[in-house]
């Protein structure tokens, strides 16, 4: 069975998504001067998020909203729970400052749009179905994770400085929602839900999805390699955490998906996507939020862990959740 898995895994690495990721890493490692212009990268991210939102919004129109409740609550619990888990795990490890640990746990609790998109494309390639609204769970996991991290950091500071006072949650939520990434996703969702964007979705956003993702994977690969160098300057435990966390979190996400399957008939594909989101760590929208909110944390530690290791591991573990789903959910 392990041989079987390795063969499947090898085949998955050849799939465009992962192959472009690895290609980007190799380019960077070889010192290539190849670059994707920043304007293109930002547009690719915007299109992917609009596409994810539009797709989910169109599906939600026909969905039974009651179905959504259980997975949404599970996503919120996962987001916040992963951060709490990470904060106490990292807190026990040597050489980790509390703020750095909290910020790192925050990013690993939050969600990566690129990893989610990769998961969707890989499910499609395997023809594994999922409820079209599952990608809309993204903010339900992402925002609670970031909030939990920020609150933990503020509690820590208050304890250290001996000050009192409540932590204001609402501004953090609003600020998250106004960020470029969540705005694009929510705009897509709203348009999918309230308008009839099917024609443009089918003729533009959806056909370009896979190709644009390959570009994004190139960028993520190049960036991951260059972050690795930075990570070398901080304690090694970050690297260890960054390798293990996506796997543990993915399992937790998969477990939550299984629970939802038993409770509400959540699809196997949905469980895989929940695992992918839980395993993923935020590289694009989480870092600036945490950097502004936890200025005392060292970005080399948390951005390095997430972008340098967390994201590649999360991407490479997608085939794992697919294989798990095949084993756990009988066809």
């Amino acid at each position: 069975m392990i041989l079987d898995f390795l063969a499947t895994f090898g085949a998955q690495l050849q799939k465009p998504t992962l192959a472009f990721l690895i290609g980007g890493m190799v380019l960077a490692a070889l010192g290539s001067r190849f670059e994707i212009p920043d304007a293109i990268y930002r547009f690719v991210v915007a299109l992917l998020l609009l596409r994810i939102g539009l797709g989910a919004g169109i599906e939600i129109r026909e969905a039974d909203l009651a179905e959504l409740i259980v997975p949404a609550i599970l996503a919120m619990v996962l987001g916040a729970g992963i951060v709490l888990l990470g904060r106490f795990t990292l807190g026990k490890l040597p050489g980790v400052r509390v703020e750095d640990g909290v910020a790192t746990a925050g990013l690993f609790g939050a969600v990566s749009a690129s990893t989610l998109a990769a998961g969707m494309v890989m499910l499609d390639a395997e023809s594994v179905a999922f409820e079209g609204w599952v990608p809309a769970l993204y903010p339900f996991m992402d925002i609670p994770a970031l909030i939990t991290a920020i609150v933990l950091a503020q509690l820590h500071r208050k304890r250290k400085e001996g000050t009192e006072g409540r932590v204001a949650l609402w501004p953090i939520i609003v600020d998250s929602l106004r960020g470029a990434a969540l705005s694009a996703l929510l705009l897509g969702l709203a348009l999918g839900l309230l308008a009839r964007p099917e024609s443009v979705y089918e003729s533009f956003y959806d056909p370009l999805f896979r190709g644009l993702l390959s570009i994004l994977m190139l960028v993520m690969g190049m960036e991951a390699y260059s972050r690795l160098a930075e990570l070398r300057r901080v304690a090694h435990v970050y690297a260890a955490y960054a390798v293990a966390a996506p796997l543990v979190h993915g399992l937790l996400g998969f477990g939550a998906g299984y629970v939802a399957h038993v409770l509400t008939g959540f699809s196997p594909g949905g469980a895989v996507l929940l695992a992918v989101m839980a395993a993923s760590s935020s590289d694009i929208s989480g870092p600036p939020t945490l950097r502004a909110a936890i200025p005392t944390a060292n970005p080399s530690a948390y951005v390095g862990s997430s972008t340098g290791i967390g994201t590649p591991v999360a991407l490479l573990s997608i085939p794992l959740w697919l294989a798990l789903a095949e084993t756990v959910f009988p066809a």
């Binding site: 212009p37 920043d38 990268y41 930002r42 470029a180 694009i284 870092p287 600036p288 200025p295």
Partner: protein, 104 residues
């Protein structure tokens, strides 16, 4: 025909802009310009126009020309104290001469 003035230049990551703008507004600065770029410093390399994964971490330079020299110094000190204590970025002042002093 020219009036002496002070130019304050700030190089920082983009996510600090709102904070910097608040400091400038507190001193009633009438205008400023922003230029996108990249650079190298204690925190490694920021690409010039290749993809920077987090846009908010890309480098910008802000320049404000100010007639009131003490205000420029107050701004520089406020920034050094508040924003650049914890975040990377540099600030410098230069003596310049402006025409149309009434614009500032």
């Amino acid at each position: 025909m020219t009036t002496p003035a002070t130019k304050i230049s700030i190089v920082a990551e983009r996510f600090l802009l709102p904070q910097i703008e608040r400091v400038l507004e507190a001193e009633r600065v009438s205008g400023y310009s922003i230029f996108p770029g990249g650079g190298k410093g204690a925190h490694g390399i920021h690409p010039v126009d290749g993809a920077s994964l987090v846009r908010e971490f890309s480098i910008v330079k802000l320049e404000a020309v100010i007639l009131d020299r003490p205000a420029a110094e107050r701004i520089a000190e406020a920034l050094a104290r508040e924003s650049f204590q914890r975040h990377s970025g540099i600030v410098w002042l230069e003596s310049v001469e402006v025409v149309r002093a009434e614009k500032f």
